[in-house]
């Protein structure tokens, strides 16, 4: 190569930096594109999917800006006899119960696995891990038949109970590692002071694991708030529907409400999205908690 060695090097660096930025801009755009698209649809007039408004030929923009979909999903009756407020109430009810139940079951179990050694500990820990290897459908079919035989299909319990149990595998291991990280000296000091075990557990240890409790709560919240596969099977009566079932129904071939669909998907997604962005660190550490060797 002719010319100064240094300029050649910096030119090459400039090209590589430029290439990196180009790549990153492209990937960022791809990453947010569906969201841009659904935002544009949610604020466009009409229920149609046709959206000719593409800025620079690719960035979706609303056609005739409106808030009508956000106000209308509050009143919309997609199927007679059921409406949005009922679905919101169902979703909130089911989700809250699931979160409370999941935390209530995981806390003591995580504690016992961390602080005690007892006969059958390894085996029971393994059995909690087992479901992570099951394809979901392996349990959906028998669970449905089980609940059907108990007359519980089309009740809230038909989803709440499986949601709670479904969150246990991950949650128990998150809680176990949370308790593992608290020094045992704390328990022992309290015990010498005469505190009973249960008291130590809920007065001293539980407050120290609040971040992990939040993680467990978040995971079970998202599992319940967004579940489709099980709810679709268990809740056929539309007055029991949750928001995901309503959202899915918006896209059925016979009546498509693309505008309302987009508005509702934003309304449903934004709380989860914000929580996810804020608690990202906890969520990742929770997910990989079990996968760290040692």
């Amino acid at each position: 190569m002719k010319g100064n060695h240094n300029t050649g090097k910096s030119a090459r660096k400039l090209v590589s930096t430029g290439a990196k930025h180009l790549f990153l801009i492209l990937m960022s755009l791809i990453s947010i594109y569906p969201v841009l698209y659904v935002i544009a649809l949610a604020f466009s007039q009409g229920e149609s999917l046709a959206m000719p408004n593409l800025l620079l030929g690719f960035i979706p923009l609303p056609t005739r800006f409106t808030l009508e979909h956000f106000t209308s999903i509050l009143h919309l009756q997609v199927v007679t006899g059921s409406n949005f407020p009922v679905w919101v109430r169902n979703s909130l009810l089911i989700t809250t119960t699931t979160v409370v139940g999941a935390v209530a079951l995981t806390l003591p179990a995580g504690y016992a696995f961390s602080r005690r050694s007892f006969r059958g500990q390894q085996a029971s820990m393994f059995s909690f891990l087992l479901p992570t290897m099951f394809p979901g459908v392996v349990t959906i079919i028998p669970q449905f038949l089980l609940f059907a035989s108990l007359g519980l299909v089309d009740t809230y319990w038909a989803v709440i109970i499986p949601f709670i149990v479904g969150s246990l595998s991950l949650s128990i291991f998150i809680m176990k590692s949370a308790f593992d990280s608290i020094p045992r000296e704390i328990d022992e000091a309290a015990m010498i002071d005469g505190a009973g075990e249960f008291r130590i557990f809920y007065r001293m240890l539980v407050p120290l694991t609040l971040p992990s409790i939040a993680t467990v709560g978040l995971w079970s919240f998202m599992g319940a708030w967004l579940d489709f596969a099980l709810s679709h099977v268990m809740l056929s009566n539309n007055s029991l529907w949750t928001l995901p079932l309503a959202l899915y129904d918006f896209l059925q071939p016979n009546y498509t409400y693309y505008g309302s669909f987009s508005a509702l998907s934003l309304v449903m997604a934004i709380p989860v999205f914000v929580v996810f962005m804020v608690f990202q660190k906890y969520l990742v550490s929770g997910l990989t908690a079990g996968s760290v060797k040692g």
Binding site: V35, L49, L129, V165, V284, G294
Partner: protein, 326 residues
């Protein structure tokens, strides 16, 4: 353990109550996961369907009072394996899994490396790139379904700009539907890989790179001889977790195409984008008043489980997840 025999042996006295702590969770697990799992295997050896189910009074004792439900022995499994559709579904499942996970890992790795270099504004880029992971998949999958709409979808609108004619993604040929489904799921999956690989890259001590650059190793050589070998365990974890998750990803495989469109192979109808778990689900819960074939659905579900068993065992061993830490 040292602490249990600690001061006054107080802990030892109440050790029995450890079972009380795990009992509620264990009951839930037994009745809602382990028992249904066993029951699923039982169902797969019967003729249980919409009609052969009703008189089943005591479901907790499989087979006792279900006179209408009869044992089929291996009939379901033989029928499944003899069905030409089975092979197509198996091929679909394999394609689906690897066509997703390989791009997930590759894109995630490239992004992790680029974002780990000193690029200006990388925290902003990173925030954008996490969006597919932070948005609920259930919702973004339905958005992708809209995007692939034949007449009005934005994918075809974009293709029109570069002179490609409209493609009937979801209701056209087999391969276009599969491709659409895979594109959407690749989009969903790379941020997670990026996050775990970035974490692994950041945990590599800087001194290693400094030492390497003194020895004259820069750029790709550092990547080849330091970064890649050191984050290899994380790559393996990512790959295995990715395979298991993708194989099991009901939402991604169901919401966009519901298993369709349908084609005929050797006289038997099969779903172009149907994989094991969606086939099990569609057989048991076909909707629209069609015959629900719980038995064959359960057989498919069990086959899917068996196919995951080996990688699952490997995964548990590899990570030592059940090992006690104290």
């Amino acid at each position: 353990m040292a602490s249990t025999s600690g001061p006054g042996g107080v802990l030892r006295r109440i050790r029995g109550s450890a079972y009380l702590f795990i009992l509620p969770a264990l009951i839930g697990l037994v009745f809602l996961v382990l028992y249904p799992f066993a029951y699923n295997i039982f169902i797969s050896f019967t003729n249980m369907n919409t009609y052969h189910i009703r008189p089943c009074v005591n479901i907790f004792v499989p087979g006792t009072s279900c006179y209408n439900v009869q044992s089929n022995l291996f009939k379901n499994y033989l029928a499944v394996f003899a069905d030409p559709a089975f092979l197509r579904i198996a091929v679909n499942t394999v394609i689906w899994t690897f066509a997703n996970v390989i791009p997930h890992v590759t894109i995630g790795l490239v992004l992790a490396f680029v974002l780990n270099s000193k690029v200006r504004g990388r925290s902003i880029y990173r925030m954008f790139m996490i969006v597919p992971w932070a948005m609920p998949a259930f919702i973004t999958l339905l958005i992708w379904k809209e995007m692939f709409n034949y007449q009005y979808g934005v994918v075809n609108a974009l293709l029109a700009h570069i002179g490609v004619g409209a493609i009937n993604w979801l209701n056209g040929g087999c391969s276009s539907a599969m491709l659409a489904m895979i594109i959407a799921n690749i989009w969903l999956g790379y941020p997670f890989m990026m996050i775990i690989f970035s974490g692994a890259l950041q945990s590599i001590p800087n001194e290693l790179y400094e030492a390497a650059s003194i020895d004259g190793a820069v750029g790709f050589r550092q990547m080849r001889y330091i970064s890649i070998p050191l984050i290899k365990p994380t790559i393996v974890i990512g790959f295995f977790l990715g395979c298991i998750w993708t194989f099991n990803n009901f939402n991604a495989a169901y919401l966009i195409t519901s298993g369709g469109p349908y084609a005929v192979s050797g006289g038997s109808v099969y779903g172009c984008t149907t994989i094991f778990i969606t086939e099990a689900y569609n057989l048991a819960f076909p909707g629209g008043g069609a015959l629900a074939n719980y038995a064959v659905g359960a057989a498919y579900a069990f086959i899917a489980f068996l196919m995951l068993l080996l990688p699952g065992i490997f995964w548990t061993r590899y990570t030592g997840l059940t090992r006690r830490t104290s």
